[in-house]
């Protein structure tokens, strides 16, 4: 019983809604607490939290809705973000720092600098991006909890 409760605490799922920036960061906040309780070094927690938060914002800025799921699997943290959104036509271009398709409202808030995906790449140990234009995007992020 106790074991299953522990297991339950090592993963979490969050619903994300397009345009709902008010609660952005909820997933990364919970994740930070979970990782801190596991004794993960602060610098690794920051890398994970930056990756998750940028991914959350991408969904909120670009998609209609999406989910973020995180799970600690052994020495790795897996974060999977699936959205129903416009999709990414040119992934290579989207990964390029400075390229952004963010709408004006997001730019006015200081988002849309074209640094989101590059930030995720720089802060993670693995990144897999699959997208179907007109349908949505799936992003899988891996963070090694024992350091880079």
């Amino acid at each position: 019983m106790e074991e299953s409760e522990t297991m339950e605490a090592l993963e979490g799922s969050f619903q994300l809604k397009g345009g709902d920036f008010m609660d952005a960061g909820a997933a990364s906040k919970e994740m930070r607490t979970v990782l801190a309780n596991l004794g993960v070094p602060p610098e690794t927690i920051r890398r994970a939290a930056v990756s998750a938060f940028e991914a959350e914002m991408n969904v909120i800025i670009h998609a209609i809705a999406g989910t973020l799921h995180y799970a600690v699997e052994g020495d790795a943290l897996k974060i999977t973000i699936i959205d129903m959104g416009p999709g990414i036509k040119d992934i290579q271009l989207a990964m390029k720092e400075g390229y952004s398709t963010a709408p004006d409202w997001a730019r006015e808030m200081g988002w849309g600098s074209g640094m989101g995906l590059p930030n995720i790449k720089n802060n993670s140990d693995g990144l897999k991006l699959d997208s179907v234009p007109g349908e949505g995007t799936t992003l899988e992020i891996t963070i090694n909890l024992k350091g880079k």
Binding site: A24, G25, S28, P42, V50, G110, S113, M115
Partner: protein, 114 residues
């Protein structure tokens, strides 16, 4: 230098207290949130004109020592609620980002003229 000392020396208005004993380690000035996520470091004081709730998440994630809102810009009430919950100090000044950064730079760096 602590958050409390900076509040004193820069005559900042405290909107959310946080921990005034917290040590400030350097400073970052930016209004682009991903830039702050990428380039600020733990303990930095963050000087910005952004006032919406996402700034609290950014400061909490990066372990920043406080946020200084410049130009007397009104701050979203939701931002203050979130900052209080996360214990992130939110400070306000009538000074511009340039001015407050310049004064703070001189306080902590004591640069010498070459």
């Amino acid at each position: 230098m602590t958050v409390g000392e900076v509040i004193d020396k820069l005559k900042l208005e405290t909107k959310v207290t946080g921990n005034p004993e917290r040590t400030i380690k350097g400073c970052y000035v930016s209004d682009m949130l991903s830039d702050v996520l990428a380039n600020s470091t733990e303990g930095n004081l963050w000087i910005t004109r952004q006032t919406h709730p996402n700034i609290v998440a950014v400061a909490a994630i990066k372990g920043l020592s406080g946020i200084v809102i410049t130009g007397n810009k009104p701050i979203d009430p939701e931002t203050l609620i979130k900052a209080a919950a996360e214990e992130v100090p939110v400070l306000s000044t009538f000074l511009s980002s340039f001015e407050v950064a310049g004064i703070f730079y001189n306080l902590i760096k004591k640069p010498e003229v070459a």
